[in-house]
Symmetry: C2
Subunit: 371 residues, 2 copies
């Protein structure tokens, strides 16, 4: 039901096919985020048209609303949101630590208060798996503890707990039509990351996630951690770098051996009127676009760029019309999916390692400067 085959390698970059019960994914792959069982502002038809194949949804959010029992009763997440292609859920761990109002951690699990209504809840490794089984994504995640990467002592404690929780998740898992990924933690400490990679690699899971990055560390620190972790991981398992990333992160991380990515960036940028483009990151609200008859990006093949001018999109933004967010989401998601297609093609034809610095330069004008 699941299979991962590496079809090409170029230096440390890999291209492969990850087969799931809802279809085969060509890796490396970028997954749009559908936090609340919807990729914000887009229909599944629009999502399929822009080339999405894997969609991530958030366990913490769906557990709170509408409730995983309800989703199960209605046939699971694929059926609920009418996305017939592969899906992935996270474990809820990251959101418990980043979104919940308060939390109390012990070795058994985490008690927390909902960010929506302050009600009290408890996640344990077993509970997270049970919720993810109710949701029914193809790919599910072990429950993990995220730490402040600058607090070395706590990072070690959280990593050890994450390892014990990963073992409990493996024991708790029941559905044969889902695969579990263990999660490598260890902050920005090379020794802890190596220890975590070795431990998670030793477990009986189909795939391995790398968590706790893209949470405030520098790009150099992220690269250093990937340089420690990826060489330790078995070649045969798909590697998922959680919550990454920007165009440059995708290029840099595929080059270090990562296969799967997800990030809210494309849809979040869209809500802030920003778009990726060959001319650099554009803020379409800018008055300079008022008479601009070009598409956002002349090289882009998305519905938005095939159809609309920058001037029209700017008008929608200024007039506070919601269609602006839809059109920008379509474009930004397509931009990263096209980039991933380009990366994959280069890995397959053996040119990626030679091309990657050119690709980074091309995308440099779209980079996130704050990191």
């Amino acid at each position: 039901m699941f299979d991962f085959e590496i079809t090409a390698k170029n230096a440390r970059a890999r291209a492969g096919v990850f087969t799931t019960p809802h279809g085969a994914l060509r890796t490396p792959i970028f997954a749009p985020v559908g936090t609340q069982a919807t990729v914000k502002t887009l229909t599944p038809a629009q999502l399929a048209e822009l080339g999405a194949s894997l969609v991530l949804s958030n366990t913490y959010h769906l557990y709170l609303r509408p409730g995983d029992d309800l989703v199960a009763e209605l046939g699971g997440l694929h059926r609920f949101m009418r996305w017939p292609h592969p899906m992935l859920t996270d474990s809820g761990g990251f959101q418990v630590f980043s979104l919940a109002k308060t939390r109390q951690i012990d070795d058994d699990g985490v008690s927390f208060k909902s960010h929506i209504d302050g009600s009290t809840h408890r996640f344990t490794p077993e509970r997270s798996i049970r919720i993810q089984e109710n949701l029914g994504a193809d790919i599910i995640m072990a429950f993990d503890e995220c730490s402040d990467p600058n607090d070395h002592e706590y990072t070690k404690v959280a990593m050890d707990r994450t390892h014990r929780w990963a073992e409990r998740c493996i024991k708790a898992k029941r559905r044969a039509d889902q695969v579990l990924f263990g999660i490598v933690q260890g902050g920005i400490d090379a020794d802890l990351r190596a220890e975590s990679a070795q431990f998670i690699a030793s477990l009986d899971t189909i795939g391995i996630a790398i968590g706790g990055l893209s949470v405030g560390e520098t790009k150099d620190e992220m690269h250093a951690m990937l340089d420690v972790v990826c060489p330790i991981l078995p070649e045969s398992k798909p590697r998922y770098l959680m919550g990454v990333g920007t165009p440059e992160d995708l290029i840099d991380s595929v080059a270090r051996g990562v296969d799967i990515f997800d990030c809210v960036l494309p849809t979040r940028l869209a809500r802030h009127h920003a778009a990726f483009s060959a001319d650099g990151r554009l803020n379409l609200m800018n008055a300079s676009f008022a008479r601009d008859e070009r598409p956002i990006d002349v090289l882009c093949d998305c519905y938005t760029c095939r159809t609309f001018t920058r001037a029209y999109i700017r008008h929608l933004i200024v007039a506070k019309e919601l269609l602006a967010g839809t059109l920008l989401s379509i474009h930004n998601l397509r931009a990263l999916i096209r980039l991933m297609d380009e990366i994959r093609a280069a890995v397959v034809d053996g040119s990626f390692d030679a091309k990657k610095s050119t690709m980074l330069m091309q995308w440099d004008n779209n980079a996130v400067r704050s990191r």
Copy 2:
């Protein structure tokens, strides 16, 4: 370039074909409203898929933002919003009287303050035509003065002024690829309505609009006015009842000889989580839909009803996801367009007059009770 042919009659109801430079419209027809050069939350592709053929846009709004000069510079409204099918603009008159912050009317025109930023502007009949020529819709409206239908004296003054303004609009109009409709006013006074219908019918215009209804009068009053006006109007000209309506208004008004309608109701209801259905008007936020696996309307063929459950749409609403508005807009617009298709087919096969009371009963559970 323009032609109106009546292809079937059934009692006072008419079916016809109204040919415009951007395509032929089969009447009776319902036009979705795209106030700011966008039918809220929908792409033109979604709009075409749900069967829309004529779209209305608002002169007042587009004059203020992004400006009619800009729209002209970018190739006109069709090109600006990428709607290649027929379009209609109103004259701005209704919005000046209903939306603008303050207004001062004289025989020459109206000075008003923008509802957006309080800036001062002036519309005259000539200016309204010039703006609508910049926008470039196929069907444009004479500049008219709306009055409080309960103020008889003012209604008479406003009607007389509307007549003189209609003559000035005809003189001001220059583009051969646009047709101008005069507007019948006269409030809810049968004598004034008859006088206005006679006057507007005597003018050299291709079509005739009926304004100032659906603004607070009862349904009986609206019907009475249509019963006065329509028999006076020439058979050969298309008749457009502005700002109407509800499903029952469409049935009742086609029965009285109206050909063209527009209304914000379907998209406005969508923003308030409401949907037309064979089970009556539904508020999809209601908890009773939490586990409801049916589509909004089992008989509907729209993308929303073909794809999603009430439970999923309710989840989107509760989770404040914008996709809810998109899905409800698609459904509500399709519902009125399907109703109009059904009405037209019945006029064509001669069964409408016999069926109309059954149709009214079927839609009774969706009626607007406040009127």
